[in-house]
């Protein structure tokens, strides 16, 4: 199982849209795919029309009073399952702190489902915290949707510095441009000459599109209602590129 974290310190950059659409494409291709909605706001649970409620809450899960299998819900799409969000996730930091080896708790939690899924997508809450550290320990790849603006890029550097300091050797941090508006000079300039990072920006970027906002109305992954749109194509090429990058990683 490959673990892909959709993460950014900033909010509203397209993390949930990426997690939902990429996981849908993965499942459509035949991969057993799981999404974990770690964000207490529960946006991906909402998109999949699944109640943002986990029996026993974050406590029950992290204390292993419940096995992961018990809280997994099938979505309306074949081979695509979800662990819903729960409002108690807002205190996940505090819950995690109670444990020894608190930063690898999440990783150990997902071990039992390792053979059941080909891909696990973690839809992460914004901010940088003990939850994020857990995510970095568990993930193979951190996918960072980045709006081509100064502030957004600044948070990307924050993230990179943080990971450098923590010396995550296993982790591949892959930023890509999200919500790109080609009419804006700043966006255009930054996409054409992306800031330098160690693994570089992915070549696929996701344009700003109203179809993405429609996800909230349709409550469904984008390709189900806008299959042949430009934006669906953009997600498809992002998924292909991501897979190629992951295949290059050591198993």
């Amino acid at each position: 199982m490959k673990v892909i974290a959709c993460y950014n310190i900033k909010g509203g950059v397209g993390k949930t849209a990426s997690a939902v659409n990429l996981s849908y494409m993965s499942a459509r291709e035949g991969n057993s795919t799981l999404v974990w909605d770690l964000d207490p706001q529960g946006a991906s649970s909402f998109y999949f029309r699944i109640k943002p409620k986990v029996k026993g809450g974050a406590q029950g899960l992290l204390r292993r009073k419940r096995v992961l299998d018990d809280v997994i819900k099938a979505t309306d799409y074949d081979r695509l399952d979800l662990i819903p969000a729960d409002f108690s996730y807002r205190n996940m930091d505090l819950t995690l702190e109670q444990f020894r080896k608190s930063s690898t708790r999440l990783r150990r939690l997902i071990e039992p489902v390792e053979d059941d899924y080909d891909y696990l997508f973690l839809d992460c809450p914004p901010s940088i915290s003990l939850v994020s550290e857990n995510v970095f320990q568990a993930a193979d790849v951190v996918l960072v949707p980045t709006i081509p603006t100064t502030l957004s890029v600044r948070t990307l550097y924050q993230l990179l510095r943080f990971c450098d300091k923590k010396k995550y050797k296993h982790l591949d941090i892959l930023p890509f441009f999200s919500m790109v508006d080609r009419r804006k000079i700043l966006h255009r300039g930054m996409v054409e000459d992306p800031p330098r990072t160690r693994s570089g920006f992915l070549a696929s970027d996701i344009p700003y599109a109203s179809e993405v906002e429609q996800m909230g109305v349709k409550r469904a992954p984008l390709p189900t209602y806008a299959h042949s749109s430009r934006i669906a194509d953009a997600y498809r090429s992002l998924w292909q590129e991501l897979k190629t990058r992951m295949n290059a990683l050591p198993a």
Partner: protein, 526 residues
Amino acid sequence: MKKPIHYPLANKDSLPHWREQLLQHLPIESAPAETCRVHYYDSFDWRLFQANKVLVWQQRNDDAQLYLQARRNGSARIAIDLEQEPPRFANELPPGQLRQELDGLLDLRAFLPVATIETRSLPFQWIDKEGKTRLRLYLEQHRLVEPGGRRSLLCKRIRVAPLQGYAKTEKRVINVLEKEFGLSPQDDDLLDLALAGMHKVPGVYSSKLNIPLEPELRADEAMRRILLTLLDAMEVNEAGTIANLDTEFLHDFRVAVRRTRSAQGQMKTVFPPATLARFREKFAWLGSITSQTRDLDVYLLKFENYQKQLPESLRADLEPLRTFLKRHHQQEQASLSKQLQTAAYRQLKNQWRRYLNSPLPQRPAADDACKPIGEVAPRRTWRMYKRVLREGQAITPESPAEELHELRKSCKKLRYLMEFFQHLYPTKKIRALIKELKGLQENLGDFQDLEVQIHSLQHYSEQMEQEGDMTPRTELAMDILLKGLETRMQEVRDVFASRFEQFSSQSNKNRFRQLFNPSQVLKKTP
């Protein structure tokens, strides 16, 4: 994914009636009916079945998918979108995981249609107030589509597809189906039903010989049993050879012919000489009409390997050879197909079968006909083994290639004798000796292959010149190829001595003696 649960319905049940019943008893919504066609594929020798997999091309209203998955439980599924009918070979699929997996499983074999099922289904969904589906249920009618297009009812059933995380809903539906409607679940696999409906038994083909024989059986009866099996093998591969579905049909067809000829020659003391002579001549003809096509098959299969032996800049220049080979292959294949549909071939088969099925003679003219096979077979095998040793020992580094070819032929005859009669010997021992022989055969086979290839390529090169296919660069490419093959041939030749030494080691000699000439062993032990 949770496993679906199937509830069989009676064939006479009306689906509209069931639809009403379900809607009355469960808070579910119905969706428009769907029709879908599912085509199952496997290789002629059931490789996917053996690997416990199924390859399916599913056509629905607006999409079509080709997928490979585990049989029955449906896990480990790899799928691609595929609008048109799948190609015949894995390597013609778009690159990716599916192609890689199938290539590994099927190698040279084509995938052939096994069964087609047409399904009409009425879908139902249990939807909660968020608009989320909690369970799916289908009223299904499956029909088998026979090759002529005729459809016959396979089964009617209710399929419940529960979703992970919605156990309460599942329980409630099961309760209604089982308690209120009195249905009981049954795990029928559609492909199994379809195969049974067509009287197809999966997994029955293998080109390996394993013929049950009792040592006290009359030798002529034993030989007839073996030869009938070989005739069946020929006939089984005949249609695929004529249609050229893949190269392995002709290959297996030829192996059956070669084994037949070898049995006729090696066990000639068992058959009436005049009858045997007549058939031997006809089978020789059968061998000869199939050889050209097979040779060209082999070169086409080796082609990419040939290209890899060239420097990259010259690889494309070898293409004219491929064009040439393909053109000639087409001609040879057409003439072979024609020959296999002639009266002469049909008569040969019929007469041979009639002879093999005719009553055993009371007082046969052939010396060994009435002797027990348990005595004749080891004697003949021992004789051939001694010949192999004699011929092998006479070979020196200076011996001409022909001597190696003679030895190769003797080894093949020995191998066939050992395989025909393997049932007479302890399985472990005979298998171990066959393996020893194989090691020697591989070396001799490689040598012969290389020599024939060199000879043929030289011949093709002249022919290409005449047919106007040759360019200077192609000629250069072929020259380099030939040089490479010659070097390889020398290497193979150099290995021969050590391979033969191993085969003819004292311990192997003892093992051969023990199986095929027990009298000598007995004589030596006091």
